[in-house]
Every structure is written in structure tokens, then in C-alpha cells.
Amino acid sequence: MPSVNEGEISILIGGRAGEGISSAGQIIAQLLSSLGYRVYMYLDYPSRIKGGHNFAIIRGADFSVGAVRETVDVLLAMNKETIDLHKKRLSDNGAILYRADTANVAEGIGVDMKGILASEHAPPVMGNTALLGAFVRSAGIEWSRAEQVFRHAIPKEIELNLRVAHRAYEAGTELLTIPPLITKRLPVVTGNEAIGIGLIEGECLLYCGYPMSPTSNLLHFLAVHANHLGMQVLQPESETAAILIALGGAYAGARTAVGTSGGGFCLMTEALGLAGIAELPVVIVLGQRAGPSTGLATYTAQADLQFALGAGQGEFPRLIAAPGDADEARWWTTTCMDLAWKYQLPAILLADKILCEGMYSLDPMEKPTLQVVPLMAGEVEHPYLRYAMTASGISSLKFPPYKGEVIRVNSHVHDEDGITTEDPQVTRAMADKRAKKLQGLQEEIEKMEPVQVLGIRDASTAILCWGSNKGICAEIGRRLGLRVVQPVVLWPFPESCFARAMEGVERWIGVETNETGQLSRLLRQFGYVPEGVVLKYDGRPFAVEELEGELKGRVA
């Protein structure tokens, strides 16, 4: 088996936008998954509908994988440009399969896509299916296994697609073997889907999103499944409207969520403080992309952590969690919803393009169980006070219509009844009430494994990462003998858990996809100073070789 490393394989498929690169990539990920591999897919595309170069890299490995390599073992080219751009990535024994009528490559195998499509009277859009059929053969994958995957993954005209794929399969040649692994087979989902599943499991009743990469597919995913779940999915006039609709829904008792990227979050910032002072729960999925401003619309960054920490005028409690893979995304989304409702505050799920649009093998880890508070349980004393002072700072949450009671929420400083006040003592008491909730939230968070320790757990040299850099750091940490510390909850900062995770660490290096080391800046507040930082801010994720080389130099 031609492979840069034992137990893993990387495949790149590329072509023009509109040629089905993403869906073909997903099918390859499913194929590898069906062979028992843990998979990760990175999708790279410019901000265009037609034209422009798109490619996906799918990596399968015998360990939990969350990043791609620069080197690939198989190059699947829908056009010549793909070969020209990516040939340099090919490993020594690598194979190229390409569309025969667009190129003539001595070391590759041409697929007669045109002829195959013509003989099946299939439309040009099925060209990717033909290339997939040829790939299946070249990788020595049994047709019956491939057919099963195709049947699951292709939504339309499955019989015609199968005929096209099979014809290409028959005409193909076996070039390599991908040995099946004996492991539990796992589902393959995008980060957006994992977040959507987390929202569904978190009893979200209303989701609002204004289309924006990289969270548009979360909006699409929920829109498709909403009907089965009594869930409402709405695309309003702006992100400003989206979050306010969510807060209106929360006031009336519905669990609500919104999704956006940095630009949309700028508009939501106005209502973030409203959620804070009015003590209304909401989950905000913030899928970061490269900024500032419009930036690189379809590329990645982790540059909104400091923005999320400080967004909104004034001071108010918030929850910020940054999951690092699909499993964490699913669980922390549900948990964000539960905690937002328990503590009546906004929760930000901080993701990025790599997590949102990447595909992962979803491997459910054991997680602590959260006590979900039944919200409508119990009667309240008359008169009901929406902001009643309590030891925990949490007031009883009731929704209109509530017989005999008035329920007021207010963006101004207000008294226990929700009536506007400018009284200095009440102002201070209400600020303290909200701060108490944050304290309680932090105590609860500390019991929830909010900081992950990966790599070599007792090593004295560590790399610190957050969000989507989890997978790549864990992998490299294992190979280089480094501890990897990944705080998942970034606010309220789980100081105790973090201190435990750092016990015995003598030096550490921050790894982040931004310009200024935003996590390191946060950690300095708690007295942790990095020896150095490895930063990438060109819109692309770290490749394994790239980061490994960089870290080797630093920790040697």
C-alpha cells in the first residue's frame, strides 16, 4: 500500500466549483470509514458558485484524526489545473486518476469520463461519480461495499449514478490496497451537522440564521430536519433580527439558537448585552472565518476569541465554549443550551471554518451528565418577581401567560420586578446578582472536564491549543512526546481544571490560527506565560508536516 505513514492514507480530489468536489469528498470519507478508518476531510473552496478551484483532502487513519497532511497518496483530478496545482503533494508511490479528455499525464491513469457518461446518457454533473468509480477500483475496494456507501450518500438518481460508477469501476485498474481495519465503524458528519445534532438534542425549538459562511450549512441542515422535531427554522432580515427573535422566543419559553460568523456576530453584539442584562438564555454559534471585515469569506481563522470575550458594552456573564471536533461540538452545543437556560445567560459556541465545514468520524466519548433543571416546575410566590434576589443569583424563570402575574424583562437596569430603576444600590445589587450566576456557572463547569489533556499526558513540555487545532496537536504531541492542553471552556475560565492540566509543565508553546496568540493573551490573565507561539494566519489550517516541523524546532 503506498502510504506516507503506516496505518493512514490521504486522498485529494479537485476540480472546478460546481463539479461536486465536496460531495465526492464526503463519499470518499464514507468509503474510508466503511473500511474502519477514522477520517477527517478538509474542504478548500473560493467564494464562488461556479468556476474557481475547489479541492477536498480526505485523510483516513487508525487513530482519531482531525487534520490533513501536505502529502497525499491519491490525486483525483476533475481537470488539469488540479494536477498542476497539487502534483507536488503526491507521495513517492502516489497515484493520479484524472479526467482523460482534459489532460495527458504519463504517470497517471486517465478515466474516460466523457465516454462513460455518454454511454449511460448521464449528465456532465455525474463526472465526479465516474471518477469515484475509478477510484474504488484503483483502491482495491470491493464493489459491493462501494455500492452500499453510494446508496446511502447519493440523494438523487441513485441507479443512474451507480451505473456510471460501475462502468468506471469495470474499466479501472487496481493500483493500491487500503487494508480494512478491525475497529468499530463510526458515523461521519461535518462539524455543522454535529452542532445541529447538539441543538436538536438540546431541545432547541427555534433556530434563526442569516446565511453566512461557515455556518450556512447549519441553517440548511436544521431546515431539512426541523419538521420532524416541532422545531422552527427561520432566515430573518439580518443577524440583528436573528438574535432578537431568539430572545423574544426565550422570553416566551422556547429554547432558541442563532448561528453566524464574525461579521454577523458584530450585528448580534447589540443584543448580546440585552441577553446579559435581561437574563435571557440564547445559544450563539459563532463559526469564525478569516477577517477583519469580509476578510477571506470561505477560509479559516481563530481570531474572534478576544472579540467573543469582550463583545457588548458593559459587563455581564457569558459562557464561551470552543469544541475541537465533531463529538465535542455535539456535546458542548447541548451543554451550552442547558447551561444557558440554567443560568439565564448567553452562551457562545466558538467554532471555525475547519470545524464547521470539516468532516469527522464522530466518536462519542464518555461525558459527565448534566442535571437538567425542569424550568416550569413549581409554583412561585405572588407577586412573581422575574429578577428575584436569590443566593445563587438565579431567579425562577416563568413565561407568559402566567395566571395572575406580570412578567417583565428589561434592557435597562431594573428592580426585582423588572421595572426600570436608576437607584445606585439596586444597580449594584443587580450587577452582583448577575456576577453570582457566573460564579455558580464556573463551579459547575469545573466538574465537566472543561480542559482536555492529550498527547503525552505527563510530559513537562506542552503545547496549548483550542478549538479545531485539537486533532493536529494531539497527533503531533504523541509523536514528539509533548503534553497537549486544550481548554474547551474559555469563559468562565476553568482555573482549577486548567491548573491541574498544567501540573508539572515547565514550558509551553501556544498553537493558534491567528495573528496575536489570543488564547495566550487570555492565559496571561491567569498567570500563564508561553515560551513562544506558533501562529498561522493565511486562512489555511496547519498541515501536519508544517506544524510538526515548526514544533520540532522549538522544543528540541
Binding site: 446511502h152 430536519h225 430572545l247 426565550a250 422570553y251 407568559p400 417583565r408 424583562v409
Partner: protein, 283 residues
């Protein structure tokens, strides 16, 4: 909640002679009237923007959401989607609703949400002490525009008609009985009910004489778009013209929220079974 006058313990801080007093009183009477007709007060929610109008939130003993400047309608949308049994009344100002929140107003009308929007149109910013608003007349000299504004005012009735509101009317704070009837009719209308309420501001822009000279009552509401359009254009909020009061336009149209399931509640177990099935398909 046993009081019958819907009056809270909050202090009233409006200037003497403010048109808001009339709107406050009309609302109290309408709430009592509605209760009499079988609509319990607990099913009413008032959503207020920021401006002098917003103080209604504190003054009334009625469910309320004191929102942000210009942001009443999205909040109302969320409330209606979460619980379509609630009757939602947005109280907004002209700066609030026609400037900062104009997009939401247009979209509320476009969707024909089943809500009521009362715009306290005093045509000047009161809370920030005397700047021009989108409906201030041409030439208006405010504190930020000492030389007088060159812009033309928006005509909210024209705008709402073009946007798809299914109930459009105009009230006047000095015609309290009519105002009360209009508000009640607006609340009972099924669909987006919009009332532009000409509200006297005795402090920054007292147009009492001008209004008293130009107002007249419209006959019954028309369902005819063209006729309504002509009525809306009788006065352009600036020059001389007859200022019609009453319901200008009323029609029946599909309501946005009806397309949504509303008050859905699927248990965590059922949801979990659904997601497990979904994940099984991805293996």
C-alpha cells in the same frame, strides 16, 4: 394582579401635556375592554423600544419586554413563534421604528405577522432632547440641524401599504376616544396591524394647531389598494394637506406564524432517537 386600571407603581416622568398620556390611558381602557371580551390580560405582551414611548412598559401592569432602540418587531416575532396564543403589541417611537429599526418594520409588514405596532409619532426625538426624526417636516430645525433639514419626511402609511401590512391606520393623541377604538380594532385584527399615532410633543415640536386645522376622519376602511394609496398620499407629512384619521386600509391575508408549527415540544428521548437514527445512516 387585581388592579383594574393596569397602573404600576412606577413614576410617570413625561412632560405635562405629552401625547403619551393619551396613549397610555387608551391602552389601559383597551386592556380592560379586551378582558371584558374574554381576552385575559396575561395573554397580552407589550414590547417597547427605547424613547419616551418606552416608559409605557414601566407604567403598565402588563407582561412586557423592554427591548432596544428600534428593536421591537423581531422580539415580537420570536414571542409569536414561541407561543402563538400571546397577543403582542409593539409600542415604538418614530425615531425608534422609522430610523434605527426600519428594516424590521418593513419585514414585519412583508410577513404579515399577527402583531400590533403602535408608533408614537411625535416627529421629534424626545428622550435625546430635540433632534429631527424620519417624519420631521422639511425645514425642521432641531438641535442637530439648526439650519433646518433638507430631507423630505417618510410617509409611514405609504411605506406600510407598499410593504404588505394588512391593517393601516392613523390616530391622533388629542382624539382619545377614536384612538382607543383604533387601538382595539388593531389588536383584534388578524395580521400586521399598524397605527401611526400623531402625538403632540409640547416641549420640542408642538403641532397641535397645525393638526387641528388639517385633520378629518376617514370613512370606513377600504380593502382597495389603489384607494388606500390615494388616501395615504393626501398628506406627505410636510406640506399642507388633509390629514385623514381612522383605519385607512384593512384586508385579510395569510399570517406568517401559521406556516410554523408553534409551541412544539418533542421530548429529549424522541430527539435522541431521531439523532441516533440520523447518525446510523452515516455509518
Amino acid at each position: 394582579m387585581t388592579d383594574n386600571n393596569f397602573t404600576s407603581r412606577a413614576d410617570n416622568t413625561w412632560c405635562p401635556g405629552c401625547g403619551n398620556f393619551a396613549i397610555l390611558q387608551a391602552l389601559k381602557e383597551v386592556f380592560a375592554e379586551l378582558e371584558h371580551k374574554g381576552i385575559p390580560r396575561e395573554e397580552i405582551v407589550l414590547v417597547a423600544g427605547i424613547g419616551q414611548h418606552g416608559k409605557l412598559f414601566d407604567l403598565l401592569t402588563i407582561n412586557g419586554f423592554y427591548s432596544l432602540h428600534g428593536r421591537t418587531i423581531p422580539v415580537a416575532t420570536g414571542i409569536r413563534l414561541a407561543n402563538p396564543d400571546l397577543r403582542v403589541i409593539c409600542v415604538a417611537g418614530d425615531g425608534d421604528c422609522y430610523a434605527e429599526g426600519l428594516d424590521h418594520l418593513i419585514f414585519g409588514a412583508k410577513r404579515n405577522l399577527d402583531i400590533t405596532v403602535l408608533v408614537h409619532d411625535n416627529r421629534v426625538y424626545g428622550l435625546t432632547t430635540g433632534q429631527y426624526t424620519p417624519t420631521s417636516p422639511s425645514g425642521f430645525r432641531g438641535r442637530s440641524t439648526p439650519g433646518g433639514i433638507q430631507e423630505r419626511p417618510l410617509n409611514p402609511l405609504e411605506l406600510m401599504l407598499a410593504s404588505g401590512a394588512s391593517f393601516i391606520g392613523r390616530g391622533y393623541s388629542r382624539h382619545r376616544d377614536q384612538l382607543k377604538r383604533l387601538i382595539e380594532e388593531a389588536i383584534l385584527h388578524r395580521g400586521f396591524a399598524f397605527l401611526d399615532i400623531l402625538q403632540i410633543c409640547p416641549t420640542y415640536s408642538d403641532l397641535t394647531e397645525y393638526y387641528n386645522k388639517h385633520i378629518y376622519d376617514w370613512d370606513t376602511a377600504t380593502e382597495d389598494f389603489q384607494k388606500a394609496w390615494e388616501k395615504a398620499r393626501e398628506w406627505n407629512y410636510s406640506a399642507e394637506g388633509r390629514i385623514g384619521l381612522g383605519v385607512m386600509y384593512k384586508t385579510s391575508a395569510p399570517v406568517f406564524e401559521d406556516a410554523y408549527p408553534g409551541k412544539g415540544s418533542v421530548s429529549r428521548e424522541v430527539r435522541r432517537a431521531f439523532t441516533e437514527r440520523l447518525l446510523a445512516e452515516r455509518i
